[in-house]
Symmetry: C2
Subunit: 221 residues, 2 copies
DNA sequence: CGTGCTGTTGTACGATCGTTCAACAAGGTC
DNA sequence: GACCTTGTTGAACGATCGTACAACAGCACG
């Protein structure tokens, strides 16, 4: 064989877009494996299989890479939940159930995922960049959950037409419902991740549905 | 004046117990101010007003200092809540209310306090030391909350004698109540710390009480 | 006042951090 | 096959990290 043809390339050039995404994925993977200590340029570049210098070619600095990873992580969560809701039958109850079941199942329900969130939250107060991403990215989640509750709560008599009686829900009740459901959801999710054996994911779904049910009775009953 | 008498001592010797506590306090203060990045030997020793070498004289290494700070932080929380409960009138409802009000008021309800918790949580999965402290220290909290619910839930007819009907609560219901209340509590607390303007602390107390009330209806009614 | 114990200091060390940058090379174009 | 663009490499830099340790000094005691 000709030596020239045998020699494998020492590296493979990638389009900036692809390489950036690979670095973001590596960042999240390092966060899962090593926690906060995994957030070093050398650890991340090793995980991505590239040299230390490459990160600063695609990102101006480390903080921007982390912020990009945070944005990606947030977006993936919202996208997954949204897809689950849209896959469900077109009834408010079914949509809520799909939302809850997606929240309490992989890939969201995972101690490793909690570990990632917790590191990001730890940066929240001291990194304006992270705070900015949080503010921009959390809106999708709030909108999704708020919209679901709005459709669900006024369900009084007219079964078929969901949006007919929208005016029945007072903004105050809707606000409380959203606050409470978010809290219960996050709290249960946190509990499960900290001690996965404590209860079944299906039990968490039922607890959340019971909460919304008690709200509905108070609003419409 | 005599020069000898004027010269101020360059430092003050402390009993090991006092100095250790001062270093623990400085650690928590640094955590509040600078987050995870405040956890450096130099930052902590500067906060405590001592030299860098002193920490390793009182603690074998940095991890042990952090673990001690975590234990102190946990113990303070449980002690504060316990004291609030014992200060309350001797009725299950009043005790629960005192517990909730203490949970949703300073010094617990503080974004800075969340920042401290979050950093500790971030170490949970990767530091056996932190995990050990967590396991040992969380028991007091669970026992307190569990005991309160146990007294509260069976309240059916006999108003005066709280422990008479204890057998009425099935272990299953009690377990669910504890899981749900903990989740709601933690979730609301988290929400408030992330966005202090979102709702009033008193509203959080009412949401928790409503949750326990709906449980009681299901159990005893 | 002298002595001893030990809490305290501050320099030093090696490791690792984020970032820079000159040199390299992959892969398309002509 | 020569050339060019640019994604990629890896050594080097200064800063900062946790820890070690010899010297210092506060203070109780005789």
């Amino acid at each position: 064989m000709r030596p020239r043809a045998v020699r494998a390339p020492r590296f493979e050039r990638q389009l900036p877009h692809r390489r950036r995404q690979a670095l973001i994925d590596a960042t999240i993977e390092c966060l899962k494996r090593y926690g906060h200590e995994g957030l070093s340029i050398r650890t991340i570049s090793a995980q991505a299989g590239v040299s230390v210098g490459l990160i600063n070619h695609h990102f101006p600095n480390k903080d921007r890479l982390i912020a990009a990873a945070y944005r990606h992580f947030n977006d993936e969560l919202v996208a997954g939940l949204t897809a689950a809701v849209e896959r469900a039958p077109d009834s408010p109850r079914a949509r809520l159930r799909a939302f809850l079941e997606a929240s309490f199942s992989p890939p969201n329900l995972d101690p490793e995922v909690l570990a990632v969130w917790v590191v990001f939250w730890g940066m929240f107060r001291h990194s304006p960049l992270i705070r900015r991403v949080q503010r921009e990215s959390y809106r999708g989640y709030v909108r999704l959950l708020h919209g679901m509750l709005e459709q669900l709560l006024p369900r009084a008599a007219a079964a078929g037409r969901r949006r007919a009686r929208r005016a029945r829900v007072s903004p105050l009740d809707l606000r409380f419902a959203a606050i409470g459901l978010t809290a219960l959801l996050d709290g249960l999710w946190l509990e499960w991740c900290l001690e996965p054996g404590a209860f079944q994911p299906a039990e968490a779904v039922r607890l959340c549905e019971a909460w919304v049910g008690s709200l509905r009775r108070r609003v419409a009953g």
